[in-house]
């Protein structure tokens, strides 16, 4: 599982980006995205995330929750987007890409989880680590997170991650030298986000 996390200002200015991989199930925490063309690796994530903004803007008025769960899927790269809104309109977006895109889930609208067992067979990159997880249902949540981006366990883990990042984000922007709309450069914050990623994802 590889993750790309980004913070966007209410006016869609990117404030913060970080890519990381899972640390569950023995993952080494390094992101290994796979896109149809290798050259796209560097910017595809950003492209996908920004393309989900329309969905986000629709979803944000549907309920009062800050955590909007999984809002969008980009099947060609089997990428899933989860979103979190701060009350001031800053958006936290997390793209996750399961280790092996061999069998992209047929529908992104079925968050039931159990029905979407990924059969992970051959490994490339870090995916070999998950070779054994044939079915996600009934597994420990860690492997579910890794294998199944839309299961309740995943949603929960992402929620925890988002909440923790949000807490640290608030502290960071409380720094008197941070001005609204400025890029978040704080190394402390970056460290905290990585830690949250290791802890929950």
């Amino acid at each position: 599982m590889s993750y790309y996390f980004t913070i966007l200002s209410p006016t869609d200015v990117p404030l913060f980006n970080i890519a990381f991989g899972t640390s569950k199930s023995g993952g080494d925490g390094i992101a290994r995205f796979r896109f149809p063309e290798a050259a796209q690796n560097t910017y595809m994530t950003q492209f996908i995330i920004h393309s989900s903004l329309d969905m986000l803007e629709e979803a944000q008025w549907m309920g009062g929750n800050m955590y909007l769960k999984h809002i969008d899927t980009y099947p060609p790269a089997s990428s899933y987007i989860s979103a979190f809104l701060t009350p001031s309109g800053t958006r936290f977006l997390l793209l996750h890409q399961p280790p092996q895109p061999n069998l992209p889930p047929s529908s992104s609208s079925g968050p039931g989880g159990g029905s979407m067992s990924l059969s992970v067979t051959s490994g490339m990159g870090s995916s070999g680590l998950f070779g054994g997880s044939g079915s996600s249902s009934g597994r420990a949540s860690s492997s579910s997170i890794a294998a199944n981006p839309t299961s309740p366990q995943t949603e929960e883990a992402v929620r925890q991650f988002m909440t923790e990042v949000y807490e640290n984000y608030v502290k960071t922007v409380m720094s008197p030298f941070y001005r609204r709309g400025m890029e978040v450069k704080s190394p402390v914050f970056r460290g905290k986000v990585s830690a949250a990623g290791r802890k929950w994802l």
Partner: protein, 192 residues
């Protein structure tokens, strides 16, 4: 050292009974905004910012000392060591709810250090990463001024400056305080 524990009891007691509390974030954000604004107004000239903060603190200290004396009912300190204890265990305690450690005395008892384990003024703060703030700005420099102002009002001329700050990546936050002299202008003329 029993006098030292007595002093810290005074501080605790005052903190519990006499002090109006205020939300810590309010203080932190207010102070932070002031410093950030100064940095902007002085166009990133951090030496001037330090100086200005010190001056502001000096003006605060000259006023705050009366409040300190009125609340603490403190008498005159017998020596500079007692003063240091008073500053840490009563002064900082009642105004910021911290008690910096008094240490690193010189042999003539005229200089000591205050080590701050926590600093409510600097919560959340990350210095600007312009490559200079880390080396030049003393974020909490107002405290130096407060000490100078308040001690001057009780006839002690001191000099105070920070020597390290965790905000800059140092291990500790340390302020050095030196007694310059006792001010004698109020001395009655000596009869011969």
């Amino acid at each position: 050292m029993s006098s030292s524990t007595k002093v810290s009891r005074i501080g605790e007691e005052l903190w519990k009974t006499k002090i109006d509390k205020v939300n810590a974030e309010l203080v932190t954000l207010t102070y932070g905004t002031i410093v950030a604004q100064l940095c902007q107004d002085y166009d990133g000239n951090y030496h001037d910012v330090n100086k200005q903060l010190e001056k502001m603190g000096y003006n605060i200290g000259m006023r705050l000392i009366e409040d300190f004396l009125a609340k603490s009912n403190a008498g005159r300190c017998a020596n500079f060591r007692e003063t240091a204890d008073m500053i840490s265990k009563v002064g900082f305690k009642i105004f910021l709810n911290v008690t910096p450690t008094v240490t690193n005395w010189t042999s003539d008892n005229n200089q000591f250090s205050l080590i701050f384990d926590e600093n409510p003024l600097a919560d959340f703060v990350e210095l600007p990463d312009d490559g200079r703030a880390q080396d030049e700005l003393w974020f909490s420099n107002i405290l130096c001024g407060v000490l100078r102002g308040s001690l001057e009002m009780v006839q002690m001329q001191i000099e105070a400056h920070f020597v390290s700050d965790v905000l800059r990546g140092d291990d500790t936050t340390e302020m050095r305080v030196s007694l310059v002299r006792y001010i004698e202008d109020e001395m009655p003329p000596e009869d011969d």
